[in-house]
């Protein structure tokens, strides 16, 4: 009999993963186990949305989340304790997804050397211009089977 391979000991060491799992366990799912590293090919997000906050400082650090609209709506329902089929307004969507970026950003800020102010979250259909930024890390998580992207950028 063979046991299934697991990458958990390695991926679990990622501080962003730890921050995200804490957030999802306490405020979104109410229990652990629904957010895990995305294993496999880079997923394609359907009807993607982007949410980000910037941590000011000698180098500005951007924390960006990416999710399909449907996944963002499910996150909004979870945060607001809404029914599964309840419609999600654009305002609630932007507020909820932006607040997830804000909480991740605030926790990332505590790991940055000499951080400045945390910006208010921005949520949109278009990816922000990161063309002149250096990517620090980028990864995908799976939340109840749906992909969620998280990336950190150093803006120059």
């Amino acid at each position: 009999m063979t046991s299934a391979a697991t990458w958990e000991p390695l991926t679990g060491m990622d501080p962003v993963m730890t921050i995200a799992q804490d957030l999802f366990t306490t405020m979104i799912d109410g229990e652990p186990g629904h957010l895990s590293p995305w294993l496999g090919d880079t997923p394609v997000l359907e009807d993607p949305r982007y949410a980000w906050v910037d941590v000011d400082g000698p180098v500005v650090t951007r924390v960006m989340l990416m999710a399909g609209r449907a996944t963002g709506e499910n996150l909004t329902r979870a945060l607001l304790a809404m029914d599964a089929d309840e419609p999600v307004s654009d305002a609630d969507f932007a507020d909820a997804v932006g607040e997830i970026a804000n909480v991740v950003g605030g926790n990332v800020k505590s790991l940055v050397t000499n951080p400045g102010a945390l910006s208010l979250p921005v949520v949109g259909r278009d990816e922000p211009d990161n063309s002149s930024a250096m990517r620090i890390m980028a990864t995908y998580f799976g939340w109840k089977g749906a992909p969620l992207g998280v990336s950190l950028w150093a803006l120059t």
Binding site: T26, M27, T76, L80, D95, N102, G105, N107
Partner: protein, 122 residues
């Protein structure tokens, strides 16, 4: 005993989560007034004279720390605490120096709320 509390956060979603978590922590008897930023909270605190204020830090128009400094500057000693996504030592120190009772960092649980708040309302 009546307990009037102002919860200030620019995110309506987060205000709902904070209020829901307060209920889960056993403070379902609190009478809660919501404020959508520091300036709104300042107006409501002057008006209703709450027993306690729970505020986000990073808000438009007036931040949480500006709100607290404004209150103390005008002699208002309403017990005040932060619920914020940033929980660094530097911010905790700033909060304490400005007169905050404590700072709860997001994400949080009902247990954290209860363990942190209970000693101050006993």
């Amino acid at each position: 005993m009546d307990m009037k509390v102002v919860v200030a956060d620019d995110s309506r979603v987060m205000r709902q989560i904070v209020i829901r978590t307060l209920r889960q922590a056993g403070y379902d008897w609190w009478e809660i007034e919501e404020a959508e930023n520091g300036a709104d909270a300042l107006t409501k605190i002057r008006e209703i004279q709450p027993d306690f204020v729970l505020s986000d830090w990073n808000m438009p128009e007036m931040t949480g720390i500006e709100l607290l400094r404004n209150l103390r500057g005008e002699g208002n000693q309403t017990p005040f605490a932060f619920v914020t996504s940033e929980g660094s030592e530097s911010m905790r120190s700033q909060a304490e120096q400005a007169g905050a009772l404590f700072l709860i960092s997001k994400p949080f649980t009902a247990d954290v709320f209860r363990d942190t708040i209970d000693p101050f309302i006993a």
